[in-house]
């Protein structure tokens, strides 16, 4: 349905996206995962025809849309990372304004505005000024505006940044519902692994402009099928202990985050007894030690040596 073919984008000296290939089929939720600065927003801007790639092609229904973007623009609704709304206007006025620019009129426009208000749960706030909204309510309206013209594909660029857990959950459920009930195709970018894990059928993982992995969740997690992810938790760490872990010949990756250390090791190696004796040697009060099911975060750690939020 929608394809990025060997896309690269260079801004002066920075190559934001390098040879990216991506496809999106009708009715699926595709996740674009990566840390800040990975090139996700640039890829999304190219996908939605807002910027032209330095190289490569964007195809919608097998037709190139770089020079003729109108058919794709008609089919997509874009939820930008920024709150792209008029803060001095009310919820309803914002929806009416953006509806009108999509040539919706009269009773059809009013009906659509009511449907969107219902969908995003802001019916009771229709007369309230956007300026008075919480971050979560603004994000919900930001999504609602992109839905006004009933697009086939919803492109969402980090739609849950900086909001409370309840609003995040509401947004995730809304996206899920749109996909299930309205068969809406969704492209969802995030640096929150759990969001992508929860929502998406297929995932593309980007880092520093490169596509480093792609496939279904299961396929991606298979990358770690020959390895174990070991989690160690303790109250505090000893730098010599961490150094010894990093220097261990059977440990391929070590990541320390707060009171947890994550290790990637070959499946055939059992390090449990060795780790326990090391904690005793360095006087570390161990709280837990277990093998985890691999997560997308672990895959990213395995592929880049860094955590998604680093």
């Amino acid at each position: 349905m929608l394809e990025l073919v060997d896309i690269s984008k260079r801004f002066k000296k920075i190559e934001a996206v390098k040879s990216l290939n991506m496809f999106i089929e009708q009715g699926e939720i595709v996740g674009l995962l990566g840390p800040n600065g990975a090139g996700k927003s640039t890829a999304i801007s190219i996908l939605s025809t807002l910027i032209e790639p330095t190289q490569g092609d964007v195809r919608f229904l097998k037709e190139s849309v770089i020079k003729k973007p109108a058919p794709l623009r008609k089919a997509i609704g874009v939820v930008p990372q920024e709150i792209a709304l008029y803060p001095q206007l009310s919820t309803e006025e914002n929806l009416l304004f953006f509806g009108r620019i999509y040539r919706l009129k009269g009773s059809k426009l009013k009906q659509r505005v009511n449907e969107i208000l219902e969908l995003i749960g802001l019916t009771e706030k229709r007369k309230a000024l956007v300026d008075s909204f919480s971050g979560g309510m603004k994000r919900r309206l930001n999504i609602g505006v992109a839905m006004l013209h009933n697009p086939q594909i919803l492109i969402m660029d980090e739609p849950t940044v900086g909001i409370d857990p309840q609003s995040r959950s509401y947004i995730l459920e809304t996206v899920k519902r749109l996909n299930k009930e309205h068969q809406m195709t969704v492209v969802y970018t995030s640096h929150y692994m759990e969001e992508v894990d929860y929502l998406c059928d297929r995932i593309y993982i980007m880092d520093q402009g490169n596509l480093i992995a792609s496939g279904t969740k299961e396929e991606i997690k298979q990358i770690l099928s020959s390895e174990n992810t070991i989690s160690i938790q303790a109250d505090r760490w000893n730098s010599k202990f961490i150094a010894q872990l990093k220097g261990h010949e059977s440990i391929t990756k070590v990541h320390v985050e707060g009171d947890e250390i994550t290790l990637i090791t070959p499946k055939e190696v059992n390090l449990f007894s060795e780790i326990i004796s090391m904690t005793e040697e360095y006087g570390i009060a161990l709280r837990s030690l277990h093998v985890k099911s691999p997560t997308l975060e672990d895959v990213f750690l395995h592929l880049t040596g860094r955590a998604l939020r680093d």
Partner: protein
């Protein structure tokens, strides 16, 4: 396009404070400064005068003087105004002499004395000539007229040149202050309207509209048209306030002046889009617009008449300045009574600026992906 304009109008209704602030400031500045210079109206520095009986003829002669505005008061008021510092200098007129009362030492006292002295001398001379003519059996009025005619012919031929031709330089302080401040503050209103394009681009609203069926040209036109209307409305309000409230007639050419100022407002819209295209963010724009606007006002003659400037560099820079041409239109029509055809030059230059700056500004903005 209609939708964008409506949204901007709604935003304006919700938050008209910037517009009201700049409109109010223009009115207050023009009013306060004009009042400081001209008193209750008319021209010149206000000077209170107490007139004794038999000295009425001197008072009417003094009221015709342009440099000072002599206004009649009773003796107590005169003394009170001097005592309380409301007036620097006062005058008491008697039948054959006058007193100058100085409350605060100022260079004006000497000038006032000279002016009053001249009125007395002229009147006494004319009386003496009339008396002499009577004594000689001639018509007194004819003798005085012949004397005045000879005086007006002058001893020497004098040629005076001004920027606008052979006429001497005329100046109306009220018109200049109102025009100067109206044009100066309109720049802020227009510029803060145009910069919303930059704000909307940063917010992502612009991208949303780009993805809709609305054409980019419609987006620019709607935003620029709105900024023009806002700035022009401000100029219109300021002129109307002074016309209806302060009775300043602008030589009965207010409507013509306002129509001829349309290219000025367009040129400022165009200049703002050019500045918007050259900066990277709103903070830079705010800093740039403050510096540029004040410089334009000083160089363009918004605060003082350009006729008192002699530096050739400043005069050259003034020629690149829209405020100068805006003021040329206002002064030309309100002070010199020029028609549209005679003011075609400043109108054309402003129109050219509008076209040129808009073209370069939008081109740069698109090229730089601001």
């Amino acid at each position: 396009m209609k939708g964008i304009l409506l949204a901007r109008v709604r935003e304006f209704i919700r938050n008209p404070f910037t517009f009201l602030l700049f409109t109010g400031m223009s009115i207050v500045f023009a009013w306060v400064i004009s009042s400081m210079n001209v008193g209750g109206g008319g021209g010149g520095l206000p000077v209170p005068v107490y007139v004794e009986e038999e000295a009425d003829s001197y008072q009417s002669s003094l009221e015709q003087q342009e440099a000072f505005q002599f206004y009649p008061v009773d003796k107590e008021t005169l003394e009170a105004e001097l005592r309380e510092g409301e007036a620097d200098t006062g005058v008491i007129l008697y039948e054959n002499r006058f007193d100058i009362l100085v409350g605060v030492e100022s260079p004006n006292a000497g000038l006032i004395q000279q002016t009053v002295q001249k009125v007395y001398t002229t009147d006494i001379q004319e009386t003496l000539i009339g008396d002499a003519a009577d004594a000689a059996g001639m018509e007194a009025d004819q003798a005085v007229s012949a004397y005045k005619e000879t005086l007006s012919d002058g001893t020497f031929d004098l040629t005076v040149n001004s920027f606008s031709g052979e006429e001497s330089w005329k100046y109306d302080d009220n018109v200049h202050r109102i025009g100067g401040f109206a044009l100066f503050f309109a720049i802020y209103t227009i510029a803060y309207g145009v910069v919303k394009i930059l704000t909307e681009k940063r917010m992502g609203v612009w991208d949303r509209i780009i993805l809709s069926p609305v054409k980019k040209s419609e987006m620019y036109i709607a935003n620029l048209l709105y900024s023009f209307i806002e700035g022009y409305l401000q100029i219109l309000i300021i002129f109307s306030v002074f016309y209806f409230w302060r009775g300043i007639t602008f030589n009965d050419q207010m409507i013509e002046i306002l129509l001829m100022l349309i290219p000025y407002a367009l040129a400022i819209v165009a200049m703002s889009i050019l500045i918007t295209a050259l900066v990277k963010n709103v903070e830079q724009f705010n800093a740039a617009i403050s510096i540029i606007t004040v410089s334009l006002a000083m160089i363009g003659g918004a605060f003082w008449p350009l006729e008192i400037v002699s530096n050739p560099v400043l005069l050259f820079l003034a020629k690149l300045n829209p405020i100068k041409y805006g003021l040329d239109i206002i002064q030309g029509a309100a002070v010199y009574g020029y028609s549209f055809t005679e003011l075609l030059q400043p109108i054309s230059i402003l129109t050219l600026m509008a076209v040129l700056f808009t073209g370069i500004g939008i081109h740069l903005m698109e090229k730089r992906h601001i």
